[in-house]
Amino acid sequence: MPAIKVNGEVRVIDIEDDTPLLWVLRDTLGLVGTKFGCGISACGACTVHVNGEPVRSCSTTIADVAGKEISTIESLEQAELHPVQQAWIDHQVPQCGYCQSGMIMATTALLAEKPDPTDDDIDAAITNICRCGTYARIRKAIHAAAKTMREG
C-alpha cells in the first residue's frame, strides 16, 4: 500500500501498484485540476511536480512515486495567486482552459530551474499541447511571470 505526499499531506493509497498517478489524483483523491489528455505522455495536460520535477502523471505509476512529494495545480495558490497564475490572468491566456493546469505546472517547474528563460528554453521545456492555440499568450505570460518572480 504505497504512501505518497500530495500537496503536503501524507496519503495512503489502497490500489494496485501499476495504477497511474493521474487516476489516483483524479478518481481516488478527487483532485481534478490535473487533466487527462492522451494517457501516453504526449500532451502534458497531466503535468504535476514530483519532488519539484515536472512529471507526466498519466505515465507514472503510483509505485514510482511511493514516498515522494507530489504537488498539483491545487497547491499553487497560497495566500494569493502564484505569479504564474496571475500572469495567465493578466494576459488572458486560457481559452477552453483544459490544457492550462499542465501548462502552468510545466511553467512553474521551468522557472524554478531557469528564472530568466529564453524563448529557446521555453520551447525546449514546454512541449505541452494546447488545442486552442494559446501559445503566443503562454510565451508572453511566462516571460512576465519570470520577471515578477525575479523582482520578488
Binding site: K35, P94, C96, G97, Y98, N128, C132
Partner: protein, 752 residues
C-alpha cells in the same frame, strides 16, 4: 440535377417537421420568466429568462450557449449588463436550462441553402420559417459562429427590460415619476431627493411588473462594456484547476465506464466473454452496446483495464476493405462522372470551354481531419425510472435531451441536461453519440451515476471527421490576364446529411447543402462566366462539422487556384485580386489593409516568401498574409501571419483577437500535419504522435488587426481558420516555386 429552390424548401420543411417529434413547443401563454426562476437559489429572483438578481444585488445571467474557450459566457453577460446598467463586478453567469426560449434561431437560419449574401437566402420566408421552427424545437445549440449574432437583440433587450422594470419598481415605491429615477451600477437614484435603492432591494417587486414591449436601447456611443476588452469571467478558475469540465463531474458513489468498440466504421458487436470480465478488480457491470461493450467499475482505470482485456469479436459492417486509397479514387471518379449540384452559375462557363483556348487546369485534395478536442469525449448520466440526468460538455443540450428521452422512452421534460465547461468543442460536441452511449450504460445500473470517458484513441478513431474532398478547377483568362471563365467541381461527403442521419436514420436528405459549397460558390471575385458544383459522395465514414466546415477546404482550393491564375497572368497576387473586387469595397478594404500591415511591396530575401489569402465566412471578412522561410533541409517554417478581420461590431476585442490567434493555429496544425487515414475500414491514427499539433517550438508570430467597417455583426469562432492554408501554400510557392495542391504539407516532405 438542379433541384428547384421551392422544392428544396419544402423538402427541408418536411425534414424539419420530423425533428419536431418529441419536442416541447413554446406555449404562447407561457411566462418564460418562470423558466429561469425555477433555477433560483438563495433568494434569487428572475426578472426574465436571462436575468436573476439576489438580495445582495448579484446578477446572474443565463448562458444558453456553451463556453468552449471562445469567451461566450463573458460576451453574453456583457450584452445584458450593458443595458442593465449594473456594476460588472456583480455579474456572474450560469448555464441556462434547456428551453425553447433559448433557441439559437441564427444557427438554423444559417443552415438554409444559399445563405451567403449572394443568393439572398437569409431574407426569404423560408429563412423566417426556419427561425420559427428553431424556436419550436428548442434548438439550443452552439455552432456556426452564430452565438453573438443570435444574442445581440434578445440579450440586450433582456437587460433593457429588466432595467425598465427595476426603475418602475423604484418609482412606484417612492411614488415619483419614473423619468426622475436614474439607474447606474446597480443603484437607482431619485434625482430630486437623492434617495437610492439597489437592484437587490427592488428585484422582487420588479419581477411582478409587466416587461415593456420595446424598451429603448442605448446608442453605441454610450456603451460602457460593449467594445471594451473586458477580462473574461471564466479565466481565473481556469488557472487554478477549479473550472469544472465534463470530465471533472463528481457525485457521491459515482461509477466509471470505459468502452471497447468495433474499430471498423459501422462495425458491431458479435460476441464477447462476459464472465472473464466480471472477476476483474473493481468491475461492477458489463454492458453490451450496439457497437461493442462498456465496462462499469469503481474507477476509470479499472474500467479501462477490464475493457481493454476483453475477449471480443466484432462484425465489420461490410466495411472491412475500406481504405484511404479507395476513397480518394472514388472522389476522383465522382469529379469525373458524378452527379453534381450546381451552386452558382453566372454567364456560361460551359460555352466558353467549348471553344479552344489555353486552359489552366488543377486538381486539389484534402484529407479527413479529427477534431481532437483537448478534453477527451465524455458524458455522465443517471437514470432513475423515467427520469434522466445528464452532465456533459456539449454544444447541443436540446439534442442530448431528445436522444436520451428516446432511449429511455420518456418525455423530454423528464430529462435534465447540465452543460459543463467544454475542453474544446470545434463541432465535435454537437454530436449525440456520447449521450446515447452514456444513457444506455446508466440504464444498466439504475439509480447510479456513471461517468463514461473515452480514451484519446477512442476519440480519434470514432470521430465525425471533416470530410476528405477533391476539387477540380478549369479556368481561362482574358487578354488582360483576368479570369474570364472559372469552373470548379468539388467532390466529398456532406456533413449535414451525415449528422441528420445519425439522429434520424430514415432521413434521406438528398438535397443541396451549403456546408459543402460554402467558400467556393460565394466567392467575391468578378468573373463573368463562373460555375461552381459539388458532387455529394456517399461513404461509410461519419462526417461532421469541423471548425469552419466547408470553408476549411474551399478557402484552400479557391484562394490557391486564384494565386495560380495570378502567376499565369504574370501579375502580383495581391493586385490581381484587387482588380477583381471593384464591386466589393468591404472585401477590398480588408485586403488593402493586410497588404499594408504586411509591407507587401517590400522585397523579401531569397529563401523567404509571402502569400496572401482573403476569405469571407460566417459573415466576417478575413485576410491573411503568411511569411515563410525555407530551411537548409528544404523544409518550410512559417515565420509570421498578419491577419485583418472585419466582423462588424466587436463586442470584446481581446476575445476576438484570441479566437483569431487560436483559429490560425488550428488551421496551421491541419495544414502541416492533419491527416486521418483508413486501412481495412479502421482509422490508422490513435493519439497525438500520429496526429501531431503545432506546439510552442513551431508557433509563428501572429499579428491580428481588427478593422470593423460597420457591416452587420459576423461570426468569430471559426473565421480565422480558412485563410491560413491558402496563405501558407501561396507563400510556399512564392518562396520555392512549388505549388502545393494537397494537404497536409508533411505528405510532401515540407515539414521538418
Amino acid at each position: 440535377m438542379a433541384m428547384s429552390r421551392r422544392k428544396f424548401l419544402l423538402t427541408t420543411a418536411v425534414a424539419g417537421g420530423a425533428l419536431a417529434v418529441g419536442y416541447v413547443a413554446l406555449k404562447p401563454e407561457e411566462d418564460t420568466r418562470l423558466v429561469f426562476q425555477k433555477t433560483a437559489r438563495g433568494g434569487e429572483v428572475a426578472l426574465n429568462a436571462w436575468i436573476k438578481i439576489d438580495a445582495t444585488g448579484t446578477v446572474t445571467v443565463a448562458a444558453p450557449r456553451a463556453e468552449m474557450g471562445q469567451g461566450i459566457y463573458t460576451a453574453l453577460a456583457m450584452l445584458v449588463a450593458e443595458e442593465l446598467d449594473v456594476d460588472w463586478k456583480s455579474v456572474r453567469v450560469e448555464d441556462a436550462p434547456v428551453h425553447p426560449v433559448y433557441a439559437n434561431r441564427e444557427m438554423l437560419r444559417a443552415a438554409l441553402p444559399f445563405e451567403d449574401g449572394y443568393h439572398q437566402g437569409e431574407n426569404t420566408s423560408g429563412a423566417q420559417f426556419m427561425g420559427w421552427l428553431a424556436e419550436m424545437l428548442s434548438a439550443q445549440g452552439t455552432g456556426g459562429s452564430t452565438s453573438i449574432r443570435d444574442a445581440w437583440e434578445p440579450m440586450r433587450n433582456a437587460g433593457a427590460c429588466a432595467r425598465h422594470m427595476l426603475v418602475t419598481a423604484a418609482a412606484q415605491k417612492w411614488n415619483v415619476p419614473a423619468a426622475d429615477c436614474q439607474a447606474a451600477d446597480g443603484v437607482i437614484t431619485h434625482k430630486g431627493s437623492g434617495k437610492t435603492l439597489t437592484y437587490g432591494d427592488l428585484a422582487t417587486s420588479a419581477s411582478s411588473l409587466m416587461p415593456p414591449e420595446n424598451p429603448p436601447l442605448k446608442n453605441a456611443a454610450d456603451y460602457k462594456l460593449i467594445g471594451k476588452a473586458v477580462p473574461r469571467l471564466d479565466i481565473a478558475d481556469k488557472t487554478t484547476g477549479r473550472a469544472i469540465f465534463g470530465v471533472d463531474v463528481k457525485t457521491d458513489g459515482m461509477l466509471h465506464a470505459a468502452v471497447n468498440v468495433a474499430p471498423v466504421m459501422g462495425g458491431s458487436l458479435k460476441s464477447y466473454d462476459k464472465d472473464a470480465l466480471g472477476g476483474m478488480p473493481g468491475v461492477v457491470a458489463v454492458v453490451a452496446l450496439p457497437t461493442g461493450i462498456a465496462v462499469v467499475a469503481d474507477s476509470w482505470w479499472h474500467a479501462k483495464k477490464a475493457a481493454d482485456s476483453a475477449v471480443i469479436e466484432f462484425n465489420d459492417g461490410g466495411n472491412g476493405s475500406l481504405s484511404s486509397e479507395g476513397i480518394y479514387k472514388l472522389l476522383e471518379e465522382n469529379i469525373q462522372s458524378g452527379d453534381p449540384f450546381t451552386y452558382r452559375n453566372d454567364g456560361d462557363a460551359e460555352e466558353v470551354f467549348e471553344h479552344n483556348g489555353d486552359d489552366i487546369i488543377a486538381n486539389y485534395q484534402v484529407p479527413y481531419l479529427a477534431h481532437a478536442c483537448m478534453e477527451p469525449m465524455n458524458c455522465t448520466a443517471r437514470v432513475v425510472g423515467d427520469n434522466v440526468e445528464i452532465w456533459m460538455p456539449n454544444q447541443a443540450p436540446f439534442l442530448m435531451r431528445y436522444l436520451a428521452s428516446r432511449i429511455v422512452d420518456t418525455d423530454v421534460e423528464n430529462v435534465q441536461v447540465y452543460t459543463t465547461y467544454l475542453g474544446g468543442g470545434f463541432g465535435r460536441r454537437a454530436e449525440g453519440d456520447l449521450a446515447e452511449q452514456a444513457v444506455r450504460i446508466a440504464m444498466a445500473v439504475p439509480g447510479k451515476t456513471v461517468k463514461l470517458l473515452w480514451s484519446r484513441e477512442d476519440d480519434m478513431r470514432h470521430d465525425m471527421y471533416r470530410p476528405a474532398a477533391r476539387s477540380m478547377f478549369r479556368a481561362r483568362l482574358d487578354d488582360k490576364g483576368r479570369p474570364f471563365a472559372w469552373f470548379n467541381r468539388i467532390a466529398g461527403q456532406v456533413p449535414t446529411k451525415s449528422f441528420t442521419q445519425r439522429i434520424f436514420d430514415f432521413a434521406t436528405l438528398d438535397m443541396p447543402d451549403n456546408t459543402s459549397s460554402e467558400g467556393s460558390a460565394d466567392m467575391p471575385y468578378a468573373i463573368p462566366n463562373l460555375q461552381v458544383q459539388h458532387v455529394p459522395v456517399t461513404l461509410p465514414v461519419p462526417v461532421g462539422f469541423w471548425r469552419s466546415v466547408g470553408h476549411s477546404y474551399n478557402a484552400f482550393f479557391t484562394e490557391s487556384f486564384m494565386d495560380e491564375l495570378a502567376v499565369k497572368a504574370g501579375q502580383d497576387p495581391y493586385k490581381y485580386r484587387r482588380d477583381l473586387l471593384a464591386a466589393h469595397p468591404d472585401y477590398l478594404a480588408v485586403l488593402d489593409r493586410v497588404a499594408s500591415e504586411a509591407d507587401w511591396d517590400l522585397p523579401m530575401h531569397s529563401g523567404r516568401g509571402r502569400g496572401i489569402a482573403l476569405h469571407e465566412s460566417f459573415g466576417s471578412l478575413v485576410a491573411q498574409v503568411a511569411e515563410v522561410s525555407v530551411l537548409p533541409d528544404d523544409t518550410i517554417q512559417l515565420d509570421r501571419v498578419i491577419c485583418v478581420v472585419d466582423c462588424g461590431r466587436v463586442i470584446n476585442p481581446d476575445t476576438v483577437v484570441a479566437q483569431i490567434e487560436g483559429a490560425i493555429v488550428f488551421g496551421l496544425s491541419a495544414a502541416l500535419y492533419g491527416d486521418i487515414t483508413l486501412t481495412d475500414g479502421a482509422v490508422d491514427q490513435g493519439n497525438f504522435p500520429d496526429y501531431e499539433m503545432v506546439r510552442l517550438n513551431n508557433m509563428p508570430k501572429i499579428e491580428v488587426h481588427l478593422a470593423p467597417s460597420g457591416r452587420p455583426i459576423g461570426g468569430i469562432g471559426e473565421v480565422g481558420t480558412p485563410p491560413l492554408a491558402p496563405a501558407l501554400a501561396n507563400a510556399i510557392f512564392n518562396a520555392t516555386g512549388k505549388r502545393v495542391r494537397e494537404l497536409p504539407l508533411s505528405k510532401a516532405g515540407l515539414v521538418g
